[in-house]
Symmetry: C2
Subunit: 340 residues, 2 copies
DNA sequence: TAATTTTATTGAATCGGTTCAATAAAATTG
DNA sequence: CAATTTTATTGAACCGATTCAATAAAATTA
């Protein structure tokens, strides 16, 4: 089977009776062209069902009409939805999405960024890995090479990237406040690594609420964990070994699910024996065996903002405020209850 | 800031004191090379931190070291996990993953495939859109152009692609059997569009189980719906309007969640008033307010098989059996119960 | 109408790789 | 040792676009 060769710009030029340069200008929307010529070219394009070769284009222009998105973990539907939102926005701009997954491993993050650079992406949206003491040479490399990038959900301090994120401190503050107001005396927070912005912010809200109630946060009220299902289970075991608190707040709903199942396995009832609260408000959170009190992050808005930002940065616009904060929303459900 | 130019193969050639052809051969692992020369080249590569330009490579070779994956809907974590699995397998082969999302729209599917063709992907893994009477010109285009592709989860009949999937009929059969054996007299199935393989297979198992119990399946026992949360809610309303059955089986767990919430909103209790069963066994399914009886699909194995297949097809190997069936597994939880 | 300016189009050079026929050098053979 | 074969390396052509200096044609001006 003689596989038909791809039609190229030269085929179009030949059919339209013009030079390849002219065809290229038509395709790039140049305005200094005889409308009649333009039409002839367009006719030829349609007749031949011609489409430009993106690799040839990228090679020549050093652009790729592509935005890279780096996420951590697609088993958490929070990020699945996020990918969908980002995809849609990027699509609308006529760009392509290139996806990279880090599984919260900084080495993978480095590799993904290297690939993205090789592929000449026009910008990168980064959901930073949950990783202790990350070496940030890859981020600095982006800055040195002037490759546009922005953060989504959280950021690496000491770098220049803008960030679209939820006001995590505010969310934690409201949730903690609610728990304290409903009579909880001993709240433990399952946190990400405390030195990360993501956790530090949440802790800030947690502490502020305690302070306003005249309380001080003890070291054993903070437990670090991986932000996934097993992280939740393990952290719960660790907490219970020290003695049961009356409430547990977690870094996201998936961690809460780990806590809920482990609690059930151990014969503890939620919310009767202890309250549990999450973060993110996944669709499923309201349907859990004990529907989850949680803080919703506006995924769609955040994602759209990040896409917006990356295009602005790519066009050299200066962003007025580096941090774009979105307001979280508290949902009180049945995994928490008033205590005397 | 004079942005440093990319180092090219010519820079490497110059530093190593050889021709560009030689460098290219070293990089492509040619075996007819003086080891000493090879070493000199490798040293230069490392010293310059040289990496090949994938666009230039693709332009020249008409390959891209890339596999395209087309999925329908990332808000369902089933597919999020699937993307993760496929990514990992493709990674292991040294290839890149290009992701496309269709949102179950056949037009999007066509566009994604066109993009993939333009990008010269070396193969495509397709999760077919849930779409009625799809026009399959894009699939035929793949076949005519000899572009390797395989299906994952289900397939379009009348096309040549292999498919890695769960034995959906078997899963439905076991589940239906269980429901009939536990005294359910009137089971309604919320199905995808019945003319699609995905649904037809499930129906086959559903009917077979009924037959073996000496029962015939009535038309009103089948309700078509979109395979998402709202699809489940709407289908439930429709079912209830006709009269409450004693069990509802759905096309996936997300649809079941729609059913569960809608049932709760209407004051119906599961499993007391009716049983509900899903398909997929999402992590969260076991934690729902009423933990879900469901059929697990082995995502990881299926995904790995699809990746395996696509590379075999790309290498021109003939696949012995077009359908690679994986065995589903029934999980009985608390959303179903024995009836008298 | 000739000189000048403006507009439309051309086509060669370029991007950064790969490939392969040609060649040079080394090894083998008679 | 000359003739032949084998092995290692070269470098020009090519992939399919873009870009821009050069040119031709048309429009304007004097």
């Amino acid at each position: 089977m003689a596989t038909k060769e791809r039609t190229t710009i030269r085929d179009v030029a030949a059919l339209a009776g013009v030079s390849v340069g002219t065809v290229s200008m038509v395709l790039n929307g140049s305005n200094k062209l005889n409308p009649e010529t333009r039409q002839r070219v367009m006719d030829a394009v349609i007749k031949l069902d011609y489409r430009r070769n993106p690799h040839a284009r990228s090679l020549s222009t050093k652009k790729s009409m592509t935005i890279g998105l780096i996420i951590t973990d697609l088993t958490n539907p929070f990020f699945g939805i996020m990918v969908g939102c980002v995809q849609q926005e990027i699509d609308a701009k006529g760009y392509e999405l290139l996806l990279g997954m880090t599984k919260n491993d900084i080495e993978r993050e480095k590799k993904v960024i290297a690939k993205f650079i090789d592929s000449a992406v026009d910008g990168i949206i980064i959901v930073p890995a949950h990783y202790r003491n990350p070496n940030l040479s890859h981020i600095y490399a982006l800055e040195q090479r002037n490759i546009p990038y922005v953060y989504l959900t959280t950021y690496y301090p000491g770098t220049r990237g803008c960030c679209a994120m939820t006001d995590l401190a505010q969310g934690s503050y409201e949730l903690t406040n609610y728990l304290l107001n409903t009579g909880h005396k001993n709240i433990v927070m399952i946190s990400g690594y405390v030195e990360l912005v993501l956790s530090a912010e949440r802790l800030r809200g947690f502490k502020r609420a305690h302070e306003e109630h005249g309380l001080e946060v003890r070291a054993d009220q903070i437990v670090e964990a991986e932000p996934d299902y097993n992280g939740g289970r393990e952290a719960f075991d660790q907490i219970i070994r020290r003695g049961k608190p009356d409430a547990i707040m977690t870094v996201n709903d998936i961690v809460s699910m780990g806590v809920l199942t482990r609690a059930r396995e151990m014969g503890l009832r939620v919310p009767e024996d202890l309250s549990v609260a999450g973060y993110d408000d996944l669709l499923y959170s309201s349907m859990l065996e004990t529907s989850l009190t949680t803080v919703r992050q506006p995924i769609k808005e955040m994602s759209a903002a990040a896409v917006d930002m990356i295009f602005k940065v790519a066009e050299g616009e200066t962003i007025e405020n580096k941090l774009m904060m979105f307001t979280p929303q508290l949902f009180i459900r049945s995994s928490t209850k008033k205590r005397l």
